[in-house]
């Protein structure tokens, strides 16, 4: 039966990787290979502080194991072999569990992980043959642990795809992972420095005490001929795998019989009871609807949360390292991310565009309302972060830079979002999550939006800095504003006209193929 499942997965993957998708997959493979080789090198290099090698390898192993657990959770499930496919088959859970676990081992990712975990062999080889052999056993056990833990995690924590709310869980996890990954670039050098200097016994103890670190502990102990500890660590790994294998069939059975997770039902107070704040016009209606969606849609709140966390923490982390030059730009970073995340106004709302299309003359207030709502949500927050962080940083030189940048960025982006939203429409994928094209668009927008909105201000600021002219630098503030205002107006008008003339064509891209 495992063979049937492997064939099924291969067939689904073949279909999924046809067409343009393979470019993305190739890039991903390249990135993962790079990470794997880096991990392997971490086991090969010499560390001055004894035991530092084991600490570093234990930390990296933790990263890989987390990747194995988080990966399938993020895609919602085993992207190819959904458990929901097997719900109705009369197969005993124990047999299905064995087969699914077997099929999980037929995974290309194992090759990359083998390269990465081989860091344990490299680490051991530095201390002799026995330690190298311990490394071989530890590598094998780590690989098995990764596969088993990954499979079990989906059954234990994975959301049920069938429920509309179940997807929310995956969205939040994805957001947190992206955030952590982007912050890791700031944190990893800090952690690595502390570990290799032997300055952080607590951190070292934590990464060694987790199951992901036991392989490194065993290899380290083998190097010191501490065979008792070797046996304990390797035995512990085997026991952890055994425990997961035993826990897997009942978990799968529970998962297969579980209906859609019935979360709490939240209700919203009556809009009628409240005194209206927004104008009682079509524009006011759209702004009101959009503001409610920002506060209630998980996708939208999570995107705002990522923007805030990354924007603020990147500056704060470097400030903790003693460098406060980045702090004034936290608001700009927040705004850029918040803009890039919302470049898919109409795509993200799916087919609900029909409501706008059947109401006569609704296109104009719809475009404007969406722009206003984004502006009201992001603008004040971005401006506040900019002013507060610039003031605390004590970097007084940066005032003309941030005051020229932030308002222009907010206003210019607001318009660009409207235009991007109607020109590039990415419908949600089958699970309701963001499609690969939408993710790519977000990444491109991270570069394009600041370049387009800020280049006049940036040119004046650079000229002012080069020519030591304070007046030129301050001139960037009104110049940036004027450019952004024109850009916003032009983009919004173009967006309105496009929605008016191309509404049905935009709608057709959101609708599943007829």
């Amino acid at each position: 039966m495992a063979r049937v499942l492997i064939q099924m997965r291969a067939a689904i993957m073949r279909r999924a990787t046809s067409g343009r998708r393979w470019i993305g997959i190739l890039l991903l493979a390249l990135l993962v290979t790079l990470l794997a080789v880096t991990t392997l090198l971490a086991g090969l290099v010499h560390y001055r502080y004894p035991g530092a090698g084991a600490d570093v390898v234990a930390t990296l192993s933790l990263g890989w194991l987390l990747g194995w657990i988080a990966g399938p959770l993020l895609t919602g499930d085993d992207a190819a072999l959904r458990m929901d496919y097997f719900k109705l088959l009369p197969i005993p859970p124990r047999r299905l569990a064995r087969a699914m676990l077997g099929a999980a081992f037929a995974n290309v990712s194992l090759v990359f992980s083998l390269i990465a975990f081989a860091a344990l062999i490299a680490l051991g080889a530095r201390s002799g043959v026995a330690a190298a052999f311990t490394g071989v056993v530890a590598t094998a056990l780590d690989l098995v642990l990764a596969v088993v833990a990954s499979t079990v995690a989906v059954a234990a924590f994975g959301p049920t795809i069938s429920s509309r709310r179940g997807r929310d869980f995956g969205t939040i996890l994805l957001a947190l992972t992206i955030t952590l990954l982007s912050l890791a670039s700031g944190l990893v050098p800090l952690i690595a420095k502390r570990l290799t200097n032997g300055h952080s016994p607590v951190l070292a103890a934590v990464v060694r005490i987790l199951p992901s670190g036991w392989g490194a502990v065993a290899v380290d102990a083998a190097g010191r001929s501490d065979w008792g500890l070797v046996a304990l660590a390797l035995g512990g790994l085997a026991a952890a795998i055994g425990a997961l294998v035993v826990a897997w069939p009942p978990l799968l059975a529970r998962r297969l019989t579980m209906s859609a997770r019935g979360g709490r039902r939240r209700t919203h107070g009556s809009a009628a009871a409240r005194e209206p704040v927004l104008p009682l016009t079509p524009l006011g209606a759209v702004i009101g609807k959009e503001l409610r969606m920002y506060s209630r849609s998980v996708l939208r709140s999570v995107m705002l949360m990522i923007s805030f966390l990354v924007g603020v923490l990147v500056g704060v982390i470097s400030a903790l390292g003693g460098k406060t030059e980045g702090l004034p730009f936290a608001g700009l970073l927040f705004t850029v991310i918040a803009a890039a995340c919302f470049t898919n106004f109409y795509g993200d709302d799916g087919t609900s565009l029909w409501l706008t299309l059947v109401v006569p003359g609704a296109e104009r207030p719809d475009v404007r309302g969406r722009v206003w709502a984004w502006f009201l949500v992001v603008g004040p927050a971005g401006l506040l972060i900019t002013i507060v962080f610039t003031a605390i940083s004590g970097q007084t030189w940066s005032w003309p830079w941030v005051l020229a940048g932030e308002p222009a960025l907010i206003i210019g982006s607001a318009g660009l979002l409207a235009l991007t939203g109607v020109v590039s429409v990415n419908a949600p994928d089958a699970d309701g999550g963001p499609s690969p094209a939408r993710v790519l668009k977000t990444h491109l927008a991270l570069i394009v939006i600041p370049v387009v909105t800020l280049f006049p201000a940036a040119a004046l600021l650079a000229a002012g800095a080069a020519g030591h002219s304070l007046a030129l630098r301050w001139l960037a503030v009104p110049a940036g504003l004027a450019w952004a205002a024109w850009l916003c107006r032009y983009s919004v008008m173009r967006a309105q006209r496009r929605l008016q003339t191309q509404g049905p064509e935009i709608f057709a891209r959101l609708r599943p193929a007829s």
């Binding site: 919203h268 009628a272 609807k289 409610r292 409501l355």
Partner: protein
Amino acid sequence: MNGGSVPALEFAGLTKRFGENVAVDHIDLVVPPGSFLGLVGPNGAGKTTSLSMAVGLLRPDSGTAAIFGRDVWADPVAAKALIGVLPDGLALPDRLSGREILLYLGLLRGMSREVVLQRADELLRVLELDGAEGTPVVDYSTGMRKKITLATALLHSPKLLVLDEPFEAVDPVSAATIRTILQRFVAAGGSVIFSSHVMPLVERLCDHVAVIARGKVLASGPLDEVRGGQPLEDAFVHIVGARAGGAEGLSWLAS
């Protein structure tokens, strides 16, 4: 202007292709004012495609669709003001409650807040959604979504209702409520076109019927004329030229 002989809805040579597949093939159809027309046809016959072109959601390759004489594609604002639409299986802003959606749509149509709130109250009560008025639509059942979408179609008191499968997934009690609402709407001079697979329902509600298959209108007119003295279901199978299968093969089933 809306009364008299101007058709509530008129398709003339309406055509739509998706690649090689001709989904709707030069359809001509008239919905007389004040009539209740059932659009029936097998799966994939082109019902949803035709109705989408009638309300401005799908641009036809050729031909015209006019609402009370106003061309949907040449004069969309005037045409759209006259119709209420219930599409099948499309999303709503699902983090909003039913009442919030109605308030949003009413204001978007330029109605006054007081009128919208009063009508929303009545619609929610009559459609028995008032118990869930604070619940976001994401937590609604399929039948409840159908009902709130119907409420959005009725809110601005349109002259023509275009309904795609309005009774699908709706419980019998709610279905009876919707039937009564629609019958009252027609009795008061409104016009309705709705698509359905359920022949007895069409027979019970409609005074006109159009049979559509493979993108063409095969028969249309007053109900009695189209069914010609036999049950609509039999007439339908005869008109469509299909043979009700299921009698051959499958010998192993329940053996």
